[in-house]
């Protein structure tokens, strides 16, 4: 039996590369077939409904199509929103300035620019909706610019064409051989869960080298951001995922909270070991051991949350007695340090229990009751968005001025293309390469379009002949866009080809118009590239990375001063979003990347401790004098992260010291209130004095020499 099972795999990998190649080609050609099917159905329907420009509907399909159906549906949803908003604005604009072309073009440029800026502030396809809102205002009004009375009909036509394209591509990609994004989400969610559990289990030894910790941190962050991105698209594909959406968000928040506590525990243990307090470190490791044990049932069950959750619950219940026992064994001077660590370990245990329990209920499909509504907040760079607004505005106004002065009949085509591409590439990291690639593809597409329009199409009659004449050149585009080696060329080719073909019923053959239009479109696209030379892209530039790093540090200021309501969620998610944005554009293992990681870890640890501390102050009535000292400590820490310097470090260290002394002084009278504030303060002090963290350059020797090693 077993030999029979094993023999086929032994025989088949004769040409393993061939099998891989075939699998890849199969996926690519399925995508090509789906795109073409959607395009021709759209074209046929548009002609059947006697829409003015079937080409607009086909272009919509070309832009919206994506191998995964969840992506198509998400993109379609935002595209529909953007189209409606854009056409409404176009109408309003036309009714406001039907006679004043200068004011009209100025406002149009401003609107497109603001939309392009808005696009840089959103992730996923919400960004795309903004681009579309700008672009639709242009496609609705520009064709009707010399005949303002026709603008309403023009708007109705464009919106119908775009919505037709959206509906057809959505239906086709969801019905015909769909590739589910949901499977990808489920797979990666399980992978990340398993990785985190394995990592937490594997570190029962206590001390993890900083390097491993940094790598793990990068992975945790990437996982959190990736899961959120996927979730935002999957909800459009799968009603079941939509019903689970709020739970998935909460799960992600718990994941982030648990990973932060995990890091804090290990940094604390590392610091204790480095400063020669091995007895406390050993006690904490012993305290951590039951969690590791709870996470290690028999190997087959190690990644099943339904098994882990009750074990973690039992473990959590057993921790207090273990804490008391371990505390007894330590000398009294070490109690404060031990309490700090013990609090952290218990926090980690309870967060792990919540995390696995929620994951277990998600996998089992128990969705009774409602859960806390949380959001994954993003860290945005508003100045970067402003640069994008400026660039788009300059491109559009330069083109408008040129159009007005020269009286160029095809100026509207050039403006249209500039609108599309300055929006689409506004948030891209290497826009000039992308635009040049697109331009090459676009020009190739137009050449193919010329051949098809003037040699092939005139000979045919009927829709079948139209398909036969246009298909061979059309399928090049979607096929190229499945290749990663030439980003942008495929999309440019498809757009250029479909745009210039301008299929109509009845078809119009006008070589002069064709050439003029082609020139105008290339000029529009080229000018967009020129604009990126003058006002460079900020995404991923060193300038923006430095700004984002400052913003990341400011997160601690936020933790120290923002209202507590929902602050923890906002803090954790914005931290990760910012970190992910910076790290994508940083060279691995460079000095910059090391400093970024050090800061990110330090911000995580300190910010979280500050939030917990403020939570203590809000929950339990600390004595007034203590409350004041703690508040002062929180503020000075905020100042330190806002502007790191040796002086600020000293102030923060002194303030925390004073708060610790104050709290310890009142401990006898109000033990229950002060105890947890004291441990959090102590954690803060220990994090501030960590000479391997980002604080190292600012630590002055005034501090008591606890880091003798």
């Amino acid at each position: 039996m077993s030999t029979a099972m094993e023999s086929p795999p032994a025989a088949s990998p004769r040409w393993p590369w061939l099998a891989a190649f075939m699998a890849e080609e199969r996926a690519a050609w399925i995508f090509v077939a789906k795109t073409l099917l959607a395009m021709y159905i759209t074209c046929w329907l548009a002609m059947l409904f006697q829409l003015e420009q079937p080409a607009t509907a086909m272009i919509t399909v070309a832009i919206v199509m994506h191998p995964q159906s969840g992506m198509v549906l998400a993109k379609s949803f935002y595209r529909a929103l953007g189209t409606l908003a854009g056409s409404l604005f176009g109408l309003a604009l036309m009714s406001a300035f039907p006679q004043q072309r200068e004011l009209f073009l100025l406002s149009l440029s401003l609107w497109v620019a603001l939309c392009a800026g808005g696009a840089t502030l959103y992730r996923n396809f919400a960004a795309y909706g903004f681009v579309l809102a700008g672009y639709t205002a242009a496609i609705v009004t520009l064709p009707a610019v010399s005949n303002p009375l026709a603008v309403f009909d023009s708007a109705v036509m464009r919106v119908s064409e775009v919505l037709l394209g959206i509906i057809v591509s959505g239906v086709v990609s969801d019905m015909v051989l769909p590739e589910r994004l949901r499977d990808l989400l489920r797979r990666s969610a399980r992978e990340h869960f398993a990785h985190f559990i394995d990592f937490a289990r594997g570190s029962t030894g206590g001390s993890i080298p900083r390097r491993d910790m940094e790598q793990a941190h990068m992975r945790f962050v990437r996982a959190a951001v990736q899961l959120e991105d996927l979730r935002a698209s999957v909800i459009f594909e799968d009603p079941e995922a939509r019903a689970r959406s709020s739970r998935m968000r909460l799960l992600n928040q718990r994941y982030m909270a648990a990973s932060t506590s995990f890091q804090s525990v290990h940094h604390l243990i590392n610091r204790l070991q480095r400063s020669g307090r091995d007895n406390v470190a050993a006690a904490l490791i012993a305290l951590y051991a039951p969690i590791g044990e709870a996470l290690s049932p028999e190997p087959a069950l190690q990644q099943i949350p339904g098994v882990l959750a009750p074990r973690l619950q039992a473990c959590e219940a057993s921790l207090p007695t273990l804490v008391a026992r371990l505390r007894e064994a330590l000398p009294e001077t070490a109690w404060l340090e031990f309490d700090t660590g013990a609090d952290l370990v218990r926090r980690f245990a309870s967060e792990m229990r919540e995390f696995t329990a929620l994951e277990a209920s998600l996998r089992a499909g128990h969705l009774s009751g409602s859960v806390e509504a949380v959001r994954f907040s993003r860290g945005n760079d508003y100045l970067g968005a402003a640069v994008s607004v400026l660039r788009t505005f300059l491109t559009m106004s330069a083109l408008s001025v040129f159009w007005l002065i020269s009286g160029w009949p095809f100026g509207s085509s050039a403006m249209l293309l500039a609108t599309i591409f300055s929006g689409l590439f506004g948030a891209s990291a290497h826009p000039i390469t992308a635009i040049v690639n697109t331009l090459v593809g676009y020009a190739a597409g137009m050449l193919a379009g010329y051949a098809v329009t003037f040699w092939l199409l005139p000979g045919g009659d009927g829709f079948t002949m139209l398909i036969i004449a246009t298909l061979p050149f059309l399928l090049i585009g979607p096929y190229l866009s499945t290749r990663n080696t030439l980003p942008g060329v495929g999309a440019g080719y498809t757009l250029g080809y479909v745009y210039i073909l301008a299929l109509k019923n009845p078809m119009v053959y006008d070589p002069t118009h064709f050439l003029n239009d082609a020139i105008a479109q290339v000029v529009g696209l080229g000018l967009t590239a020129v604009a990126f030379v003058f006002v460079p892209a900020v995404t991923g530039s060193g300038w923006q990375r430095r700004r984002q790093l400052v913003q990341l540090r400011r997160q601690v200021v936020l933790a120290a001063s923002a209202p507590l309501e929902g602050l923890l969620y906002r803090f954790e998610s914005v931290n990760r979003d910012l970190f992910q944005q910076i790290v994508t554009h940083t060279r691995p293992n460079s000095d910059e990347s090391r400093s970024l990681l050090a800061w990110a870890l330090s911000v995580h640890e300190c910010g979280r401790a500050v939030i917990e501390l403020r939570q203590d102050m809000a929950d339990s009535g600390l004595p007034a004098a203590v409350g004041e000292a703690v508040q002062h400590a929180v503020q000075t820490i905020g100042r330190l992260y806002q502007q790191p310097s040796a002086a600020h470090w000293q102030q923060a260290d002194a303030a925390v010291d004073r708060a610790i002394a104050m709290t310890a002084h009142h401990l006898a009278q109000a033990r229950s209130n002060c105890q947890s504030a004291l441990t959090h303060l102590h954690l803060l002090r220990s994090a501030l004095r960590d000479d391997e963290s980002a604080m190292a350059p600012y630590i002055s020797s005034v501090a008591e020499p606890i880091h003798a090693s």
Partner: protein, 66 residues
């Protein structure tokens, strides 16, 4: 139901409103069905949803305009 309805003085086909109404209804059905995970009992959920929508839209259109 009138074939065309004036919304803010723009004539809109009545069928379009029915279409939008059916989309909302489908969204509602999706929410309920997704909540209980009933789509798992269907072979091809998207196809089922499309068919459901066509049924709803067809029925509503025929009832209101026939």
């Amino acid at each position: 139901m009138p074939r065309e309805i004036a919304l803010a003085d723009a004539l809109v086909p009545g069928l379009l409103l029915v279409f939008v109404g059916c989309l909302l209804l489908l969204w509602l059905v999706d929410t309920i069905v997704g909540r209980f995970g009933l789509y798992r009992f269907v072979w091809h959920p998207p196809l089922f949803r499309l068919a459901l929508f066509v049924c709803m839209f067809g029925a509503a259109g025929l009832l209101l305009f026939h």
